[in-house]
Structure formats: structure tokens, C-alpha cells
């Protein structure tokens, strides 16, 4: 991420009480992860100790301190999807791409996430890839869906 863009984001929120969270969110959104040197830069520019920034960045689950893959695979494991068999979907995804939730494949093709109910329980079990919902799926559908993401 180029440093001019980072400056722009920081300037946008400078002076706001919760600027750290807002800045981290914007950078996470654009860059998909938070490199250490970016955090150091934020710390300097906003005069917030790095330890405090790390406290926030490691606490909230949306923030990632590791590079993310090109495609984000999210298997919903909320209560309702769980009850409708999401565990088997997650197992199948793990088998196919070879990483666990929270990890990224070594070729940076996929990052896998699970958890948090997405509020569309009628579509469950479901898997969201790059924001696209694949609903009411079975483990057999997983391979065909992932094939489309290179």
C-alpha cells in the first residue's frame, strides 16, 4: 500500500476520538491486512503508542496482521448453519485447500474464515466467497464453487 494513500486515510480521521479504529478499518478494507510498518506509521502520526494500536488490532477480529489470499472464503458457522450441517462444509473446504480457519494458503489463493452469523439463516448452510453468497449447499458442492476462484 503506498504511503500517500495511508497519509490520506490518516488525515481523513485525524482529530476524531476513535480515529485509530477508523484508520485501521479503512486500511484493512483496502489492503486486506495491516503490515507492521503501517501500524508504526499510524502510531507516529496519531501520537498513539504502538502497544495501544496493537491492542486494538489484535482484539477486533476483522483486523489481520498477516497477508490475506486473493479470495476470502467465509463459511458461516452460526447456530442455524451449524444445525443444518455447516461443520461438514467447513471440513470439506479445509480438506480441499489445506488450511484451517484464520489461515491463508501458501500460494495466497485463499484465506479461510468461519464464525459469525451473517443473518441470512434461510440460506444456510452457506459459504461466502469474495462477498458472493453460495446458499443451501452440501459438501459435494464445495469443489465446484471453489474451482471458479483462481
Amino acid at each position: 500500500m503506498d504511503s500517500k494513500r495511508i497519509d490520506e486515510i490518516i488525515n481523513k480521521y485525524e482529530g476524531m476520538a476513535n480515529s485509530v479504529i477508523m484508520v485501521l478499518m479503512d486500511i484493512q478494507h483496502e489492503n486486506h491486512w495491516l503490515p507492521r510498518e503501517v501500524l508504526e506509521k499510524i502510531s507516529k502520526k496519531l501520537s498513539v503508542p504502538l502497544s495501544e494500536i496493537l491492542h486494538i488490532a489484535t482484539f477486533y477480529k476483522t483486523f489481520s496482521l498477516k497477508p490475506q489470499g486473493r479470495h476470502e472464503v467465509h463459511v458461516c458457522t452460526g447456530t442455524s448453519c451449524h444445525q443444518r450441517g455447516s461443520e461438514k462444509i467447513l471440513e470439506k473446504v479445509q480438506d480441499l485447500i489445506g488450511v484451517k480457519p484464520g489461515e491463508t494458503t501458501s500460494d495466497l489463493r485463499f484465506s479461510l474464515e468461519n464464525g459469525s452469523c451473517l443473518g441470512c439463516c434461510t440460506l444456510g448452510p452457506e459459504m461466502v466467497v469474495d462477498g458472493v453468497h453460495h446458499s443451501n449447499i452440501t459438501p459435494d458442492d464445495v469443489e465446484d464453487i471453489l474451482k471458479n476462484y483462481k
Partner: protein, 554 residues
């Protein structure tokens, strides 16, 4: 748009809007709720294209609305003015609907809802059994308005309660009305909102805050986003009225970061409310100033807890704090901060508009008004429901929810997800009521009703809840951080058929300590699913130790 400067002017503006609207102009209202995949663009495009093709531009409106509620039959559309309801509509159906229904005024039979039990067809929303038994005071307007158009909200009487409060009532009178209506918090606790407002009002401080909690992190709960995305002005109006009653000039909305359309609708609603003069300085000429700021959760369950949420608004990590001083007295930046849930705020305009006496006529003795419920799990009609308090669980699960799919039997009804409790099928005649449900060990919580069929194993279900909480615990206090971990260890081995003698007793002890000594509701209510399971499904726990296995029904 120039700012509206008085209640009288608002009525004139409203008249102008209504007179410009032709009630007979056909309109295709497409559900934009997340269960219908957010008003899928391909579906919206198909209708727009078809209207153009059949030369009906300007004669027919297409409206992307908030959630209609019947997610299981989505994508849903309603054709106005006749209110014909079509279910499971696909883009390829657009041409037939436009030609048949909009031009020739005929009903497309194959897209009409058919009752699976009786085979009867229901052309209008009011004929569909799912809607028939509901009382949709809050959700009912969702199909009728475009959440991105403030004029639609004004046309149905929007902001008239705010005008009434500001022009005809003192802050004390507004507070008294809410107290009299016995509005109870819809976020989980069921605490009387009026009392909380009073505490914040009486707290000595120059600056006070009101907060709308739209975090909705509870798995299986999705009613708040249905109303917030579908009718954001309703919540904003409630929040401004609350600010007036409490004496706050600043409001905060805390909502989800992962739903772009929800965020867009809120931002747009705030901007237009500002343009029209419902926010900002000297609102409707009353001298009352009020602003609202939006903050986003960044994906952690505990930040929905009041004191943690306030830390998050301050820009810190959302760790809860002990509540020896209430947040209504010392919250954000140590100032009085009154926090209520989205649905609670949504109830405020109708209480002020129609009066507490009207509101008191709905519900049970201790629980007034309606409650939005989201149905999930093993249930035919997954979706958002709004019923008056006092409706039995049986009516919700069977008459509205359509029962259990695949011919299975009902095993348990669960409220409150990982921090709630389960009721066995025998208690299905229980009425929906804050106090009755709490006594039975299954507090309503935010209103996520999760249905489990006969194949469910209660031990592994409880293990699943603990696993969720173990990951979401903030780790600040020991009883929660360490207690949940130990409980999870025990439940894991029980669910694997390796339970030991004494495990149930150890669980009970951990539950007791956790519920007494944890800092916040997350740790305090971790024990709720286990307590309720030990109350109603103890045999299953015992069997998982004795039989070294976990049959679902013992």
C-alpha cells in the same frame, strides 16, 4: 430542500408529498433484505429492463425495500396497488409479471404462495398464514417504503411523533409517556427503558449521550437489521425523541461493518434527515439541537455489550468494565450514556404518536407491545416475525413458522443463542413474555428463536455454544476466560463419549462461579444453556457419561 422550521410546516410538506403520489400507480416492491440476497441486482435490473421493453417507463415504479419478513420464500415481491404477493421470484419471471400483472391486471398463478399443508393459494400478503397471525406494527411498513427516500417515510406519517414531542410535550412528559407504556429493552435484558432514561436524565452532567445499539452479534438474530435497513428513519426518529427526553444533544449509532447496504441506508437517512431539519440545530423551531454519529463494530461479539460498546466508540478495544456505576450515569467519556437496542428505539415513535394507553392494550401484563423474532434452525419458514407479547411459542413455531421440516419432531426451542436457554417441546404452550420465559430458564434475549429437531444432541449443541463463547470472550476477567475454557474441555470430552463421573457436578460449579463473578453479561450468562439443559435434558448429560456415547434421545 430547505430545512423544515416548525411542526406546522412539516404537515404542509407532508401534504405536498402525499398529493404528488398517485396511490393507484403500479409499483413493484422488491425485498432488499439479506435473506432475499439484498434485492439482487439481477432481479431489479430484469424488472427495469422489462418495464422499458414494454414501454411502461414512468408509469410503473420499481422499489427496492427492506426485508418483508418471509425469507424462506425469497426473493419476495409485492405488486402495488393491489398488494399481490409473489414468492421465489427469479429474473426470468420479470417479463411474465410485467405483462400479466402490470398490464393485464392478472395474477401469475405459479408465483403465488401455496400453503404446503392445505394446498390453498394466497394471492395477497394478508392471506398468507405466515403473515396472518402476526401484528406487524414495526415491520409492516417495510414493503411500502423505499428506505432511501425520506419522502416515503414522511408520506406514511414519519417524524410526526418527533414534531408532537417537540411542539406539544415537555421532555418530562415524553419520559413519563415511555415510562407509562412500560417499554422494556428489546436487546436482551428486558429492563424498563423509561427507568434507564430517567437515570440518565437525572444524572448531573452538562453533556449526555444516547446510543442505538445495532451490533446484533447474536447468531441467528437478524431482526434488527431487517428494520434498520428497511426503515432507518424510524430508529433515527426514536433516537432524537430519546435525546430530547433525556437532555442529550449527541446520539451515536453503533452498527455492523459487514453489511454495506445497511450502512449506506443509515448514512443516507442521516444526511436527508439533516437536510430536512430533523437533525442539527434548532430542530423544527423548538430550540433543541441534536446530532447523530455512526460507529462500526469491527467484528467481535463482546462489543455489543453496553460498556464494551462505549469503549469502542471512544476508539479503544471493547473490554467491558464492572457496572457498580451504571452506564446511564457514567458511560462514554464518563458521561451519562443511555443505550438502547434498535428495536427499543423503533418502538418510541409509535408510543409518542399513538400514546401509552394504545400501547398498553397490546401484549401481556408485564410485557407490552410487539416483539420481533427471527426464526432459524430446523424450521420450515425461516424469517423475521413480529407478534404481540402473549403469543404462544406454538403459534410462532407452527402457525407462523410452519413447523419442523422433513417430518421430524420438535425437540427444543432455544432463545438467546449461546447465552440463552432451551425449552423442551412439552412447554410449547408457553406465552412469549419476558418474565415467564426468564423463569423457565430461556430468557427471550434479543429475540433469536432457534428450533432444534429430534436429531439434535443437546450435549454437543451446548459444546458448540461454549466453543463460540470461548472464542469471543475478551479475556479480561478470569471467571469468564478460564471458566469457559474448562467448561469447554469437559463438554468436549462428554460429546466425544469420554465423559467422567463428576463432570456434571464440576460443570455446575463452574457455572455458578462464572455467573456470580464475571464482569459482564457474556461471562455471567455462559451458564444459561447448561443450566437449562440440566433442568430439562439432564438424562442426556448423564447418558453421555454412563453410556460413553451420546444418543440424541435418551
Amino acid at each position: 430542500m430547505a430545512r423544515i422550521s416548525s411542526a406546522k410546516e412539516l404537515e404542509e410538506v407532508r401534504k405536498g408529498i402525499v398529493s404528488k403520489k398517485d396511490p393507484n400507480k403500479p409499483c413493484v416492491a422488491i425485498c432488499g433484505g439479506i435473506g432475499c440476497l439484498g434485492g439482487r441486482e439481477d432481479l431489479v435490473n430484469a424488472f427495469e429492463k422489462e418495464i422499458k421493453k414494454q414501454k411502461l417507463q414512468g408509469k410503473v415504479d420499481v422499489r427496492v425495500t427492506g426485508c418483508h419478513g418471509f425469507c424462506a420464500q425469497g426473493p419476495n415481491i409485492v405488486i402495488y396497488p393491489d398488494e399481490i404477493c409473489y414468492v421465489k421470484v427469479q429474473p426470468e419471471d420479470a417479463s411474465e409479471i410485467v405483462k400479466q400483472t402490470l398490464v393485464e391486471k392478472k395474477v401469475v398463478d405459479r408465483l403465488v404462495y401455496t400453503d404446503p399443508n392445505t394446498g390453498e393459494k394466497a394471492v395477497y400478503q394478508s392471506d398468507i398464514p405466515y403473515y396472518k397471525k402476526q401484528m406487524r406494527n414495526l415491520l409492516g411498513t417495510n414493503p411500502k417504503i423505499d428506505p432511501r427516500n425520506i419522502d416515503d417515510y414522511l408520506a406514511i406519517g414519519g417524524y410526526s411523533s418527533l414534531a408532537k414531542a417537540l411542539s406539544k410535550m415537555t421532555p418530562e412528559q415524553v419520559l413519563d409517556e415511555v415510562k407509562k407504556a412500560n417499554l422494556r429493552g428489546r436487546g436482551g435484558g428486558g429492563f424498563p427503558a423509561g427507568l434507564k432514561w430517567e437515570t440518565a436524565r437525572n444524572a448531573p452532567a452538562e453533556l449526555k449521550y444516547v446510543i442505538c445499539n445495532g451490533h446484533e452479534g447474536e447468531p441467528g438474530a437478524y431482526m434488527d437489521r431487517a428494520i434498520f435497513q428497511g426503515n432507518p428513519h424510524l430508529i433515527i426518529e426514536g433516537l432524537i425523541i430519546g435525546g430530547y427526553a433525556i437532555g442529550a444533544r449527541q446520539g451515536f449509532i453503533y452498527t455492523r461493518h459487514d453489511m454495506p447496504r445497511l450502512r449506506e441506508n443509515i448514512d443516507l437517512a442521516l444526511k436527508t434527515a439533516h437536510d430536512y431539519g430533523f437533525l442539527g440545530k434548532n430542530i423544527l423551531g423548538s430550540g433543541f439541537d441534536f446530532e447523530i454519529e455512526v460507529h462500526l463494530d469491527v467484528g467481535i461479539f463482546v462489543s455489543g455489550e453496553a460498556s464494551a460498546l462505549m469503549r469502542s466508540i471512544e476508539g479503544k478495544a471493547p473490554e467491558p468494565r464492572p457496572k457498580y456505576t451504571r452506564t446511564a450515569v457514567k458511560g462514554i467519556w464518563e458521561r451519562p450514556s443511555n443505550l438502547n437496542n434498535v428495536e427499543t428505539w423503533a418502538n418510541v415513535p409509535q408510543i409518542i404518536g399513538k400514546g401509552a394507553d394504545w400501547y398498553l392494550g397490546i401484549g401481556t401484563e408485564g410485557s407490552k407491545g410487539t416483539k420481533m423474532i427471527s426464526l432459524s434452525g430446523n424450521i420450515v419458514n425461516t424469517g423475521v416475525v413480529e407478534v404481540p407479547f402473549g403469543t404462544t411459542l406454538k403459534e410462532i413455531v407452527y402457525d407462523i413458522g410452519g413447523g419442523i421440516p422433513n417430518g421430524k419432531k420438535l425437540k427444543a426451542i432455544h432463545f438467546g443463542a449461546a447465552m440463552g436457554g432451551s425449552l423442551p417441546a412439552e412447554l410449547i404452550d408457553t406465552p412469549l413474555d419476558f418474565d415467564v420465559m426468564s423463569k423457565l430458564g430461556a430468557a427471550i434475549g434479543a429475540g433469536g428463536l432457534f428450533v432444534m429437531d429430534e436429531d439434535t444432541n443437546m450435549v454437543s449443541m451446548n459444546r458448540f455454544f461454549l466453543d463460540f463463547l470461548a472464542k469471543e470472550s475478551c479475556g479480561k476477567c478470569v471467571p469468564c476466560r478460564e471458566g469457559i475454557r474448562q467448561m469447554l474441555r469437559i463438554m468436549t470430552r462428554m460429546s466425544e463419549g469420554k465423559g467422567r463421573e463428576g463432570d456434571i457436578e464440576a460443570l455446575e460449579e463452574l457455572c455458578e462461579v462464572g455467573s456470580l463473578a464475571s464482569l459482564c453479561a457474556l461471562g455471567k450468562t455462559t451458564s444459561s444453556p447448561i443450566y437449562s439443559a440440566l433442568r430439562y435434558f439432564k438424562k442426556e448429560y448423564e447418558a453421555s457419561i454412563k453410556n460413553k456415547g451420546t444418543p440424541p434421545n435418551c
